[in-house]
């Protein structure tokens, strides 16, 4: 999620990855691993659970002399750790922009 001023300056950014974060269960540190043959220990589980709603709240401070912000929210499904090519191994599931103003 990003919030930008009308002239395009970034005022806020937050990115979160939702997945079953797995380690290799051999207690060799807390490094996350990829690959079905490697992963087994579970470091963090923050996936979207069935029939449950996950609520994320963001408190965005307006920069000085700024009265308008555009908040962009994007939910993307992505194969692999790299961002990937949109439409090939990275897919935008939801995208919206909300304008917020103060007087």
């Amino acid at each position: 999620m990003t919030a930008k001023t009308k002239d395009g300056k970034e005022a806020f950014k937050s990115e979160k990855i939702y997945m079953l974060h797995a380690g290799d269960s051999r207690n060799e540190g807390d490094q996350m691993v990829y690959g079905p043959a490697n992963k087994l220990g579970f470091l963090e589980e923050n996936t979207f659970q069935p029939l449950q709603t996950k609520v994320e709240t963001y408190d965005i401070k307006f920069p000085d002399n700024t009265k308008n912000l555009d908040v962009n929210v994007e939910l993307r499904f992505q194969y692999g750790p790299e961002v990937g090519t949109i439409g090939k191994d990275s897919y935008v599931l939801y995208k919206t922009t909300k304008a917020i103003s103060i007087k």
């Binding site: 079953l20 979207f48 029939l51 709240t57 965005i60 939910l75 897919y91 939801y94 917020i100």
Partner: protein, 300 residues
């Protein structure tokens, strides 16, 4: 004379037993092409054309290739085996049926059980050469679900019969080889899909975590009030035998995406802190993501 007679009797018994054993032994495929022929489903297409077309679009029809990441995952597994001193694998040609059934092919190609170690090695070599043409020859097709994996309760119902396709009805079946049709007790139950779409596999010499869907379905979806089967969402409601995940189904269709994940964004108007005027004004953005699927998202 008595000795000669005894010898002839023993020789006859030995020959008879050998012939019987040869007849009883199930013939296993010695090449990838033989395995593909053993599981040839071209005759299914003649009568079940629409279903066959749906299946051809599915990821089951390319189970050894998958999304493309499957190839990388399996290559990584083979490389791991080569580095594990107790695996018995130094090169791809050392991979056996046992290696595959212990790990990837328990789900990606259960019919590997009907092949020899030569086939296992051929497939491993195909992976390491990125030979997708060979990998595309064998897959999860009609006979895997409607015969090999169709009977989940085998102590009660017996093993799948060689001349029978399993579905939702009993009767005859217009095919030269599969002449009979039998009702599978679990064909429309989630446990049918759960045979493969479950994990991790931790009760074996090489642990594998690929899919954990069925566990999530059992332990999260059902307790949260879910009451649909895998087949209802992934087949009956959309796409039949294509069995798309909603991830694959149509990224560009917001209504289809909502069937899996629904997102609401509420951006509240900014406010100014009165009590602490030195603090900058701020706004609050609340994002709600609801998972409407029968399992966690993402999985794997």
């Amino acid at each position: 004379m008595k000795l000669l007679r005894l010898f002839l009797i023993l020789a006859f018994i030995s020959v008879a037993l050998t012939a019987f054993a040869a007849q009883s032994e199930v013939k296993k495929a010695k090449t990838v092409d033989e395995l593909a022929a053993m599981y040839d489903v071209s005759s299914c297409k003649q009568c079940h054309a629409k279903i066959f077309e749906e299946w051809e679009k599915s990821i089951h029809s390319r189970s050894l290739i998958g999304s493309g990441r499957t190839v990388g995952g399996v290559q990584g597994a083979i490389k791991n085996w080569m580095s594990f001193k107790h695996s018995g694998v130094k090169e791809a040609k050392d991979v056996t049926v046992s290696h595959w059934t212990t790990t990837c092919f328990k789900c990606h190609l259960p019919q590997i059980e009907d092949a020899t170690d030569e086939v296992a090695a051929q497939i491993a070599e195909a992976y390491m050469k990125n030979d997708r043409a060979t990998l595309a020859k064998i897959n999860i097709n009609c006979l895997v679900c409607h015969n090999k994996m169709a009977v989940t309760h085998q102590w009660r119902d017996g093993k799948p019969e060689k001349d029978t396709v399993y579905g939702t009805k009993d009767g005859t079946h217009m095919d030269k080889i599969y002449k009979n049709r039998k009702k599978s007790a679990t064909m429309t139950a989630s446990v049918m899909c759960g045979q493969c779409h479950q994990g991790p596999l931790i009760d074996r010499p090489a642990t594998t975590q690929c899919s954990t869907l069925f566990g999530s379905y059992l332990n999260a979806y059902l307790p949260n009030g879910g009451d649909k089967t895998c087949q209802e969402c992934h087949m009956k409601e959309v796409d039949g035998h294509a069995m798309f995940s909603f991830r694959d189904r149509n990224y560009g269709d917001p209504d289809m995406v909502k069937r899996a994940l629904a997102v609401e964004v509420d951006a509240k108007k900014g406010y100014k802190a009165i009590e602490l005027p030195k603090l900058p004004p701020s706004a609050k953005v609340v994002v709600k993501i609801t998972n409407n699927a029968g399992h966690r998202i993402p999985d794997g």
